[in-house]
C-alpha cells in the first residue's frame, strides 16, 4: 500500500510524525478540519439546547420537585404550577389520534403493500407523502372552520344523545375539546403510519405469504395471520413514530383544544396540551417561576418525544433486519 500512496500528489510520506503545519498545507487536512468543525457545531447546538432547557427549568425543580408532575393546579396568580393537566391533555389527544389513525393507517398500508399493483402503490404512497408535508397551521385552519362545527352539529349529538351517561361522552358541546384535537391529530399522523407500515410489510419475505396460501388460507387470512404478525414490531415502530409526532404538535392542537388547564373525563371537554400552553403563555410569563415552569414542560415534552423516537427506530430496524434474516 505504501507504494500506491506515494504516487498520489501532495500526499507526502505516510509515516505519522509530520508537523501540524505540514499537514495543513495538505489540502485534505484542511478539508477534514473544516468539515469536522461543522460536524462539531451540530453536536454543540444540540448540547446547548439540552443544557439551556435544563438550566432554565431549575426553579420549579427546586420548588416543587416531583410534585410538579402530579399537581393539577396551574395558577399564575398564586404562583402554583403543576404539569398534570398538560400531560393529561397531551396523552388523551394522542390516544384519540392513535385510536382513529392506527386501524385506518394499517388498513391502508395492507392495501398498498399486498393488494395494489406496484405502480398504483407507488403513486398512492407519493400522494400520502404529500399529505405528511401539509403544514400544521393549515390543519389548524381546517380544524377551526370545518371540524369544530361538524363536531358541534353532527358528532356531538350522535354520541351524546345515546351515550351521554358514559363519563367520556358527558357534558356540553363546546365544539373544541379533546376529541376535536384528537381527530385533527389523527389526520396528521396517518401518513406516518401508512408509509412506515407499508415499507415494513413489503420487507416481509414472500415465502411467508406463499406458505400460508399453500396451506389453504384465504388472501386475507394469510395477510392478517401471517404477514402482519411477522411485521408486528415494525408496525409498532410506526405507531411510536406517529405518537412522537402527535405529542409535539403545536399549532393545530392549540387552535382546537379549548385552552383550559383542567383534567376532565369527557372527550367533549376542553383541555390543554404541553405544546399549546407553551405557545400561548411563553411570551407573557412574567416572573421567573412561571417562565421556568413552562420551560420545564418543554423539557418533559422533549424527553417524551426523544424516548419514543428512539424506540420507534429500534423497532423498525429490528423488523426489517428480521425480514432479511429469515430469508426472502
Amino acid at each position: 500500500m505504501a507504494t500506491t500512496t506515494t504516487a498520489l500528489k501532495g500526499a507526502g510520506p505516510v509515516t505519522g510524525s509530520r508537523s501540524f503545519f505540514a499537514k495543513l498545507r495538505d489540502g485534505d487536512e484542511i478539508a477534514r478540519l473544516v468539515t469536522l468543525l461543522f460536524a462539531t457545531t451540530v453536536v454543540l447546538i444540540t448540547a446547548a439546547l439540552v443544557w439551556e432547557l435544563w438550566i432554565n427549568s431549575a426553579l420549579p425543580r427546586q420548588k416543587f420537585g416531583f410534585h410538579f408532575f402530579v399537581t393539577s393546579v396551574w395558577d399564575p396568580v398564586m404562583d402554583q404550577y403543576g404539569a398534570l393537566p398538560f400531560i393529561y391533555g397531551t396523552m388523551v389527544t394522542s390516544a384519540v389520534a392513535l385510536i382513529i389513525a392506527v386501524p385506518l393507517g394499517i388498513g391502508a398500508a395492507i392495501f398498498l403493500a399486498e393488494l395494489a399493483p406496484p405502480r398504483v402503490s407507488d403513486t398512492l404512497q407519493f400522494l400520502i407523502d404529500l399529505l405528511a408535508a401539509v403544514p400544521s397551521v393549515i390543519y389548524g385552519l381546517l380544524g377551526v372552520f370545518i371540524i369544530v362545527p361538524v363536531m358541534r352539529t353532527v358528532i356531538y349529538p350522535a354520541l351524546n344523545k345515546p351515550f351521554g351517561y358514559l363519563p367520556i361522552f358527558k357534558g356540553p358541546s363546546y365544539g373544541v375539546g379533546f376529541l376535536t384535537a384528537g381527530m385533527v391529530l389523527a389526520i396528521m399522523v396517518i401518513p406516518y403510519i401508512i408509509s412506515v407500515s407499508r415499507e415494513v410489510l413489503l420487507s416481509v419475505p414472500r415465502d411467508q405469504r406463499e406458505a400460508a396460501l399453500a396451506l389453504g388460507s384465504t388472501r386475507w387470512e394469510s395477510t392478517w395471520k401471517v404477514v402482519v404478525p411477522f411485521a408486528k414490531t415494525g408496525i409498532m415502530g410506526s405507531i411510536f413514530l406517529a405518537l412522537a409526532r402527535a405529542l409535539g404538535e403545536t399549532m393545530a392542537v392549540t387552535m382546537v383544544i379549548g385552552n383550559t388547564p383542567k383534567i376532565a373525563a369527557s372527550l367533549f371537554a376542553p383541555g390543554y396540551s404541553i405544546a399549546a400552553v407553551i405557545a400561548n403563555e411563553f411570551t407573557e410569563a412574567t416572573g421567573d417561576l412561571y417562565l421556568q415552569s413552562l420551560i420545564a414542560l418543554g423539557l418533559v415534552l422533549f424527553l417524551l418525544t426523544f424516548i419514543l423516537n428512539g424506540l420507534a427506530r429500534l423497532l423498525i430496524v429490528l423488523t426489517t433486519q428480521k425480514g432479511s434474516e429469515v430469508g426472502g
Binding site: L8, K9, A11, D26, G27, I30, A31, V34, T35, L36, F38, A39, V42, V43, I45, A48, L49, L53, P103, L104, G105, G107, A108, F111, L112, L115, A116, L124, I128, D129, L130, L131, A133, V134, P135, V137, I138, L141, L142, I187, I194, T218, E221, L247, G248, T250, M251, M255, A275, I278, A279, F282, T283, I295, G298, L301, F302, T305, F306, R313
Partner: protein, 284 residues
C-alpha cells in the same frame, strides 16, 4: 371443511381486503379534500392586492399580505444559508473523514435535534438570540428554522455520499486527485440529486412551521427592513387571522393557506421528481 365455511372465509377475505382499499382511498381523499377546500375558499381571495398590499387596520376590509410573503421568503432564505452548510459539510465529514466514535456522536446529536418539538426550538432560539440582542428579528426566526433543517440535510448528505459507487472514488484517486478534490469534483456531484432533494424537503418542512416563529420573528405590521427587525411571516399570519372574529381576515387566511400549501407541495413534488430521475440511489 364444509363448503359453507369456506364460502364464509372467502367472503370475509374479500370484505376485509375491500375495507383496506377503503382505508387507502379515504386517506388519499383527505389530501384532495384539503386542497379542494383551500382552493374553494381561498382561490377567490388570491388577487393582486393579496400579494402587494400591506395589512389594513383592524376591522377594515381589504389589504393584503405582501409583508408576510416577503418576510417568509427572507427568513427561509437565511435559514437555508444557516442550516444547509452545517448539515452539508457535517455530512461530508461523516461520510468521508470521520472515525466510528465521532460519527456515532454526531449522528446521535442530529437525531436528537430532529426529534425536538418545534415549540421547544422556539424556546431555545428565544433564549439564545432574542433575549441577548433584545429584539425580535428575522435572523432569530431564521436561526430557529435553520436548526430544524440541519438534521435532515446532514443525514441525507451522509447517506447519498456513502452510496456513490467505489469505482468513482478509486478512479479519481488513481488519477492522482487528493481526497478533498475527489470529494469536491467527483463524489458530491455524483450525489448531487439526492442531496438537493434532501435540502428541498427540509425547506418544505420548515416553510410551514409556525411555532418557532412566534417567539423569534414575532410579527410586523409593515415591511421589515434588513434582518434585525420583527418580521411578519405567512404561517403566523394565517394563525392570527384564523382565530380572529373578522370575516375579511378569515378570507385572507384561506388565501394565505392556499399559497403556503401550494408552495410546500410544489417543493415536495419537485424534490421527489428530481430524486426519481437521478441515478439509482437508495431511498433514505
Amino acid at each position: 371443511m364444509s363448503n359453507g365455511r369456506l364460502r364464509w372465509r372467502k367472503f370475509v377475505s374479500n370484505f376485509m381486503l375491500a375495507m383496506t382499499g377503503v382505508c387507502a382511498f379515504v386517506s388519499v381523499l383527505v389530501l384532495f379534500f384539503i386542497l379542494g377546500y383551500l382552493v374553494f375558499n381561498g382561490g377567490t381571495s388570491i388577487n393582486w392586492d393579496f400579494f402587494t398590499k400591506l395589512p389594513k387596520p383592524v376591522g377594515e376590509a381589504g389589504g393584503g399580505m405582501a409583508n408576510a410573503i416577503v418576510g417568509s421568503g427572507k427568513i427561509l432564505l437565511l435559514a437555508s444559508l444557516m442550516g444547509v452548510p452545517i448539515g452539508f459539510l457535517g455530512g461530508i465529514y461523516l461520510a468521508e473523514f470521520s472515525g466510528k466514535g465521532m460519527a456515532s456522536v454526531v449522528r446521535y446529536a442530529a437525531d436528537l435535534l430532529n426529534g425536538v418539538p418545534s415549540i421547544v426550538i422556539g424556546i431555545f432560539a428565544y433564549s439564545l438570540v432574542v433575549l441577548p440582542f433584545k429584539h425580535f428579528s428575522a435572523y432569530a426566526g431564521a436561526f430557529a428554522l435553520g436548526m430544524m433543517m440541519i438534521p435532515i440535510t446532514l443525514r441525507s448528505t451522509e447517506e447519498f455520499l456513502k452510496s456513490v459507487p467505489r469505482m468513482l472514488r478509486e478512479g479519481a484517486m488513481a488519477l492522482g486527485a487528493s481526497k478533498w478534490k475527489t470529494i469536491a469534483t467527483v463524489i458530491v456531484p455524483a450525489a448531487y440529486r439526492g442531496i438537493m432533494t434532501a435540502i428541498l424537503l427540509a425547506l418544505a418542512r420548515v416553510a410551514g412551521e409556525t411555532a418557532p416563529l412566534l417567539f423569534t420573528a414575532f410579527g410586523n405590521r409593515f415591511e421589515s427592513h434588513g434582518w434585525s427587525q420583527p418580521t411578519a411571516t405567512l404561517p403566523v399570519m394565517i394563525y392570527t387571522y384564523a382565530v380572529s372574529p373578522y370575516d375579511d381576515w378569515h378570507r385572507q387566511a384561506w388565501a394565505a393557506g392556499l399559497v403556503l400549501l401550494g408552495l410546500v407541495l410544489i417543493i415536495n413534488i419537485l424534490a421527489r421528481t428530481i430524486l426519481s430521475r437521478g441515478i439509482a440511489v437508495p431511498r433514505s
